[in-house]
Amino acid sequence: AQSVTQLDSHVSVSEGTPVLLRCNYSSSYSPSLFWYVQHPNKGLQLLLKYTSAATLVKGINGFEAEFKKSETSFHLTKPSAHMSDAAEYFCVVSRWNTGNQFYFGTGTSLTVIP
């Protein structure tokens, strides 16, 4: 079975400071992991993906995530927050043999304080 746990429902940072959004996963097999962002009244936009290649994955808008198998974690980071980063962030796990069904975390709402 697959699942993800997003450890923080809300994160608040000041503009220009680092962002850390935490995600732990559970998977019986080698997982594919993704981070998606959802701005208000918009769909889900892919930030980055991990599919068993490099463990440090770089995505759009300066975000990156590191796959740590020993910790079953896939935390999302950004060195310097921008006002436009304020949104809901979802960690997602999937496995191809399950039809690539996506299992979503409960989401982390990021607030950026000017």
Partner: protein
């Protein structure tokens, strides 16, 4: 960049009525999905569709729901005899191949009165 498009953006329907939510996946994609997000809750998988048939469905996807790919471009979700608890945002997604991410539409907000 190609996009998944969903129509309508907002659908208001009386309880007990049937609704059809429409999606146009990215043109060369082969795998199609529906998800829903009840207000304040996580995004939940409903169904996946490949090669003109359902490949997987969740417990939520009961006999009230059906999907169809009536032509080469549209992918629809039909909800029969809607209930108040069907009110949610419904997302369509498509994927090109097995190791690729899914691309999501902007969603249809379904409100059941």
């Amino acid at each position: 960049e190609p996009e998944v498009t969903q129509t309508p953006s907002h659908q208001v329907t009386q309880m007990g009525q049937e609704v059809i939510l429409r999606c146009v996946p990215i043109s060369n994609h082969l795998y199609f999905y529906w998800y829903r997000q009840i207000l304040g809750q996580k995004v939940e998988f409903l169904v996946s569709f490949y090669n003109n048939e359902i490949s997987e469905k969740s417990e939520i996807f009961d006999d009230q729901f059906s999907v169809e790919r009536p032509d080469g471009s549209n992918f629809t979700l039909k909800i029969r005899s809607t209930k108040l608890e069907d009110s949610a945002m419904y997302f369509c997604a498509s994927m090109g191949s097995g190791d690729q991410p899914q691309h999501f539409g902007d969603g249809t907000r379904l409100s059941i009165l």
